[in-house]
Amino acid sequence: MSGATLAAARAPLPLARVLRAYLQEARFEVLAALRTTGLALPFIAIPVAIYLLFGVVISGSAGGGELGPGIHNYLFVGFAVLAVAMPGVFTGVTVATEREGNLLKLKRALPLPPGATIVAKVAMAMVVAGIALTLVVVAALLAAKITLSPGQLLIVWAVLFAGTIPFSAIGLLLGTFGSASAAPAWGNLVFLPMMWLSGLFIPLPDSLKRWVIVWPTFHLDQLALGLAGVRQFTYIPPELAAAVLTGVTVLCGGLAIRRLARRG
């Protein structure tokens, strides 16, 4: 091989091919996840199921107490946050499995554009989260006593859909630790306290209330409620919530990228 052919082989890919590589990686990541029913189905079915049970059937009979009928809007957004946080955090399981199966090592050896693997994982989480979220919205429209306007609903949907990203960043970071069999445990260790202690759908004792601000789920909830203009339940300014979520994304995502570059 002459120097000239070597140099030709090293010429960078045209932009269109780079984009295509990103797109194909994301497409097959989503396809693989949706075909893995054991993984995708719970993420899609559980949020809408427990929303219908707790948010609609059980609390539907209650008048809302001192919070009034607005409580139904609050519960709807809370369960919708659950729908996007779950596929996000549990991205870690996929990462850990692929790491253990040397697949991430193989991808580092391929001339894949940098970041394609991670973008694909986030895209996969967003697609699953988008489906789960849409189901919760449909359930709310059909069965619950929400009073949000279509515009507000659209904002909530869009904010939460994008809100998958910080949770995927957490998931990616979790996936870089431990083995594939331990990954679901790690996920639950982060996910369960995050759901139950952030005050999204169960009342918290005062001692825990001051801690809600440490959970990203609370901030996503606040961001969605704040931007949709649900004043009754906006406790912190949406700018602050957005800043925290951005911080989580940059911190966890950055660490995950760094760790994957070395250990994947």
């Binding site: 091989m1 002459s2 120097g3 052919t5 070597l6 140099a7 082989a9 090293r10 010429a11 960078p12 890919l13 091919r17 295509r20 590589a21 797109l23 194909q24 990686e25 097959f28 396809l31 693989a32 075909r35 893995t36 499995t97 692929e98 253990e100 199966g101 040397n102 697949l103 090592k105 193989l106 580092r108 050896a109 391929l110 001339p111 894949l112 554009p113 940098p114 394609a116 001051r210 801690w211 601000i213 440490v214």
Partner: protein, 717 residues
């Protein structure tokens, strides 16, 4: 007395020094949550006060012990002149520069906090600076004084005790005291004497911090001077650290108990109103004396306990600890304006301290660490503070040392695109590469090139370093020494890998995707890939196209992986044991495909256990054993390396007797057939024919590569 210093224990001491400095940052961050300087936060707590109390008890003593230890180490290594030069650069320069830049910022932050805390004016005169405010840099000032005193004292002792018998006596006495657990009491005595006599002692705050002027303060000089002196003596006999390492649980237990006593006497939070009159201690002089004793004892039990625990648990090298201890000096020097500024900014935010305190620490550390990483570590500043500078990238040392010149020319281009100096005859190279896993050396100065269009078979027993070599070429592993080059550049550049196809060992592809989807996925990252059909046809996997990967047999999975390896039209193909688990027809089909690729000009690196695979395909064979090349050449050359021949015949000769014939290595009988391995076939055949005139079916064969290979690696072992 000089004994060799165990570097592992030095790592532990380095970690302690860093820990003491980093705890200082925590200490200062707690202040607004129980005290008025730098500000009084709306959320006040007992936990921050107790944390302050405990850290404040030991952290500077611990620091000065380590400073004394490393002070003597420095003097031993560099002599008096080197010692003075180093202390001037690393203590006096930061002190002066820090004082000019950091003190005004720190004082401004504190003044801002106090005006917000006391809007009507400062009630206690707490902010009014007395003398020259050294702020937190006082420790450098005291360190400079101690260093000078140590030099003077050492000169005096050397003059008086020329024979060293007094020093030997001191060493023996110190060993005995350390072993008897009495050392904390002895070391605490001078401090107790000074503190219990100090009438204006704010007892809760322990040793008064000498941050208010250039005039040395007696309590600090005594307490920290003792610590510096002890550190100096510890270095005279480093194995004393092992005594401390054994005692750590006792010392830490005592320390916790003594601190509890102190807190019971002085209160969990400082009594600011009483501080001016009684020093915060009720019960008169006896109680003050008791408190001073308990406090000074707790200083030394904490110090010994933490030192011992560090030697016990933190000996040995750790990259993270190394980085943090390099960073700690800078972090501590510049933290006060940031910590105090954040405390003042947050003082009125209606959040609990348990949220604000961690937030302050996280933000501070993020700012400090990034400033260290980008502004200090790679620059002259880092060289000043830590004695060395870390370059951003270590790529520069690519292609150094030996190795053919053409490889060096190629390696020189490792940082950028290939230029005219690179060698057109090499598509991949490992240049003097060493790779270790812990203490195991996987590759030991390996030098290996791949030429265009050749099929290089890498053979070797398990653990020889075959897969490590492939990993270095693929960029999934990084060499400890030397350089890996692929397609004219470092493997970590995506451009280098654009012409490379890969088949790794033990890879689990996504089970729910079909074979053709896997090929489509992989080919999307290459410039001009084969179509999916072409790739499947080339590798004979067309009938697997629509089947999910997870449902294929092990051999079929390897075939699909082979299809993904070749689908990008690679110029260089790495195949790591490609035919494991394949049946005979599948293996032959793969061989055919590999041969076709090679004939089309693709270079192939193949590792294998199947020697017939190398015999069937390879242009060149390299045998690795224990990370080194033990043989290299064509298949024929490899066979010629060993002279053994196999002889088969139908004969009645006694096999047992044959084994003792000259030239016979091994002889076995299978029914009427005799199998002989011979190092000198001609002599053995002549004797066979002579001994058995009825001998039939004589067959003489060259040994297979398998036998050659076994022999070569055995000789290397």
């Amino acid at each position: 007395m000089n004994r060799p210093t165990n570097p592992d224990r030095l790592h532990a001491l380095d970690a302690v020094r860093a820990g003491a400095l980093l705890l200082g940052i925590v200490l200062h961050a707690t202040m607004s949550f129980f005290f008025v300087v730098p500000a009084r936060d709306v959320s006040q707590g007992t936990v921050p006060a107790v944390a302050f109390f405990v850290i404040h008890t030991f952290r500077m003593t611990l620091f000065f012990v380590i400073a004394g230890f490393f002070g003597r180490l420095l003097l031993q290594r560099r002599g008096v002149r080197g010692f003075v030069k180093d202390r001037a650069r690393r203590v006096l320069v930061p002190l002066t520069a820090g004082w000019v830049i950091l003190a005004p910022l720190t004082i401004a932050a504190v003044a801002w906090g106090l005006t917000r805390t006391f809007p009507g004016g400062d009630p206690g005169g707490a902010a009014a600076p007395r003398g020259i405010p050294l702020v937190h840099l006082w420790f450098l000032y005291d360190l400079a004084i101690f260093s000078l005193l140590a030099l003077a004292l050492r000169a005096g002792v050397a003059a008086l005790d020329a024979g060293g018998s007094a020093r030997a006596g001191l060493d023996r006495w110190l060993d005995r005291v350390l072993a008897s657990y009495l050392a904390p009491a002895l070391l605490a005595a001078p401090t107790v004497a000074v503190l219990s006599r100090k009438t204006d002692w704010a007892a809760w705050f322990g040793i008064p911090t000498p941050d208010i002027g250039l005039m040395p303060q007696l309590p600090a000089m005594v307490a920290y001077g003792t610590a510096f002196g002890l550190g100096w003596l510890l270095h005279r006999r480093v194995d004393r650290l092992d005594t401390l390492a054994r005692q750590w649980p006792v010392n830490l237990g005592l320390a916790a108990a003594l601190t509890s006593v102190c807190l019971a006497i002085a209160g969990l939070r400082p009594d600011l109103s009483a501080a001016a009159t009684t020093g915060g201690i009720e019960g008169g002089a006896p109680m003050r004396w008791a408190y001073a004793a308990a406090y000074a004892l707790s200083i030394w039990t904490w110090t010994f306990g933490l030192l011992g625990a560090a030697v016990r648990f933190l000996s040995g090298e750790s990259a993270v600890r190394r980085y943090l201890s390099d960073a700690s000096y800078w972090l501590y020097l510049v933290h006060p304006p940031i910590v105090f500024g954040l405390q003042v900014m947050l003082m009125e935010v209606p959040l609990h301290w348990s949220i604000k305190l961690p937030a302050i620490l996280v933000v501070t550390m993020a700012l400090l660490l990034s400033s260290y990483h980008f502004l200090v570590r790679p620059t002259a500043l880092g060289e000043l503070l830590n004695g060395r500078r870390y370059p951003r990238r270590a790529l520069q040392d690519a292609g150094r040392d030996a190795g053919p010149r053409r490889i060096r020319a190629l390696a020189g281009a490792a940082g950028g695109p290939v230029d005219e100096t690179s060698d057109p005859e090499t598509v991949a190279a490992l240049v003097n590469v060493t790779k270790r896993y812990g203490t195991t050396v996987a590759l030991d100065g390996l030098h290996l090139e791949v030429r265009p269009g050749e099929l290089l078979a890498v053979l070797g027993p398990n653990g020889a370093g075959k897969s490590t070599a492939i990993g270095l070429w693929l960029g999934t592993l990084q060499p400890d020494e030397g350089t890996a080059l692929v397609m004219g550049g470092p493997p970590l550049e995506a451009a280098s890998r654009l012409g490379v196809g890969v088949m790794m060992q033990e890879v689990a592809l996504a089970p729910t995707l079909t074979a053709s989807e896997h090929v489509a996925l992989t080919s999307s990252c290459y410039r001009d890939p084969l179509s999916v059909e072409e790739a499947l046809d080339l590798t004979g996997t067309r009938e697997l196209a629509r089947r999910r990967y997870g449902r294929l047999s092990a051999g079929q999975k390897r075939q699909v992986q082979f299809a993904t390896a070749v689908c990008g039209r690679p110029r260089l193909l790495f195949l790591d044991e490609p035919t494991v688990g394949l049946d005979v027809p599948a293996r032959e089909a793969m061989w055919k495909a590999i041969a076709k690729l090679r004939n089309d000009g693709c270079s192939v690196v193949l590792t294998t256990h199947y020697l017939e695979e190398a015999e069937a395909l390879a242009d060149r064979v390299v045998v690795l054993a224990r990370g080194r090349i033990v043989a290299e050449g064509s298949v024929d050359e490899m066979r010629a390396l060993v002279t053994r021949k196999r002889i088969r015949c139908a004969s009645s000769v006694d096999v047992g007797a044959m084994r003792s014939w000259p030239g016979v290595v091994e002889a076995t009988r299978d029914a009427d057939l005799v199998n002989v391995t011979a190092s000198d076939a001609e002599t053995v055949v002549r004797r066979l024919l002579a001994e058995d005139p009825d001998l039939r079916q004589l067959e003489v064969q060259q040994a297979s590569l398998a036998e050659a290979f076994t022999e070569i690696t055995r000789e290397a072992a």
